[in-house]
Amino acid sequence: MKKGNGFISEEYLDAMKYLWGKNKDISFDYKKYTEKYRNLSGLKGMEFFYDVIAERKLKTDKPVIGYFCNSVPEEIIMAAGAVPLRLCNQDIHCAEAGEEIIPGDICPVIKAICSGLQNDIKPDILVIPATCDGKVKLAEILSSAFDNIYFIDIPRNSDYTENIDLWEATYLKFYEYLKEKFKVKISRKELLNACKITNERTSIFRKIYKLRAEKTGIINAFDYFTITSASFLIPASDWTKHTEILYNQLLNREIKTNYRKNLLLAGSPIIFPNFKLLEITEEAGCYIAADILCSSYGHLFDPVKIDEETEKGIIRTLTLKYIAPSICPCFLGIDKLINAVIENVEKYGLDGVIYYNLRLCNVFELEIPVIRSVLKDKGIPFLALKTDFSREDTGQLKTRIEAFMEMLE
């Protein structure tokens, strides 16, 4: 993408640079926050993940490629010899600071990203997919702070039959771009290797996912979402290694639980500092037995299953991991979301569904009436919550979730 200097005023650039310069001061004291959750479970295997979150540093000498959303193929980045780093940010302080450069009535995730990245590492390349409108404009805004921004233009219809060739072309373009940028030759072997690494991650994630759903109280929501948030920040192989250790500890864990109901969490992503909703659900005695959020399920659940081990074949299959099964509301295809909800509820015998809608993210909100009516037909209790990172509506949310729990009992 072209650098935006030509049309962005000096004043705006200065504001941007100022914000990005001081981003360390505006963000949370992560250490303090991790302590709060760390002590709740006292799981030994969790230490590593809380440390990752608290430090937020990527120890690597390889080039780092930052990206947002779930539609950027990590495997291609890894095959190119770089480290993928997902930069989605849900820090309330960042969101408030972001209002200095963009209007307040914007999705808080976009605002938070605008005001600087959580990590101390500045990525070599920033990859922004055209998932939602906010991300599209974000690419333009961030171009004043970044030299290398790559914009992936994804068609919004996630129907395989209609758009598979377009996706393939889009990913191929990205693949060629990375090859040229890093002046590397990527062979099939490297792509296959990268796929193997992410597939291993997927298989251990599925194990944890299944265990969590089948044994009430085996892992609390804070721990679980810390693991998934940590997967953004560390290389996939490290994550797999430590999750496996954790999984083995969980298998031998004695559960004493005072959870009252098992619920499915759907809707907007939940990433580390934004654990407000989880605090409320845990307090109300509701166990998040399964979730289909893009920050955990969407990010880690789908594998790359390669049909043809040709270069193009692998890249084509990658689109079938990242775009086709995506339950992001930005895409056309609500049936996938509904399938996922019903599947999880039926498979694990869950009691109800909580749909978490990040305020000002309209696409999520637009889905609510459809899901509500479908689930009503199926007789599955459903609660939609609209909130953002701020804590002023904690009381209201509490009432709703507690009333929902009373309704289930």
Partner: protein, 340 residues
Amino acid sequence: MRNKISFTRRLVQIISFILLVYGGYIFKTRLHTETGKPLFPALEAPEGYMSTTQFKKGSILWPSGTNPVLENYPPSLVCRFNPKGGLFKACIFHFISENLTWQTPVKYLLPHLTLFILLCFLFGRMWCGWVCPIGSIGDFITSIRKKMNIPARRFPDGFKSGLRFSSYGIMGIGFFISGLIGVPNFARFQCYWFLPYCQICPARLICPLFGLIKPGWKDFETAVTSMFTILAWLVMGIFLAAFYFGRRIWCHLCPVGLINSFFNKGAGIELKKKAVWCNKCGLCADACPMGLKEMYEKDSDGIYNQNGCIMCLRCVEICPKDGCLSASFFGKKITESKLK
């Protein structure tokens, strides 16, 4: 094992290839020559009619094999051009064409037809994907392409239904000519028009190759045989290109597969989908060697035995959702999709 189903399928393909193509060498001496005649008596050509054994050596229709051990007709082919391939004589298209010309009474055909229908009823078009030696050769060509890092060419749905339509045409013309030359008035055409489809079938050029005998590759004796030879080479070209670029696109054209496909719906082997568990990733449609999309498109539980389906079970194997797709045999689950 990473790809359990694919591995099993390869194994079955190799074993059946050896059995079908070289089975004669293995079993002939023991079963055929000792008794002096086949285990099950073959249909003999009626007096005065063109038979499979009446051709000169080197002629286009000279059958390269001897009398088979088991004269039966499993739905897939073992063709008349199969050298010493005496274990089965199997191609249903050959069987029907031949007997249309001979005007054999139905009661003689009944045992063979019953066997064919029974096998079809059990396995549907599974023969195409698991047994057919021509398909096995095609799969081998496809694997060469994969090694060469050349992506598969994908064809639009219209093209595929066009091929199926052509397949009906080939079947119709083939049976019509065979029937026509059986009528006494047209009997003089038998000499050159006998088994018209077999004369252009790619198996005519391929099968003798594996027996290291001289096939009828350049039979330009008369205008008609020249035409058939040229057509055969043309079809051969299409065949190779189809398998090289388009995975199993050829199988949409094959009339033997077409006849088998009539039995796909209601066959003992069933592909099932649990619609709610589907995440619509499209892998099943993408990996399908026949390029079928129904499994992806439809949103209902049930049986997905499509007409084109060759029951290779690749979709079941590649589906990343545990238990979403499954294959069962008369309601008993054989295999289901798994992550690994």
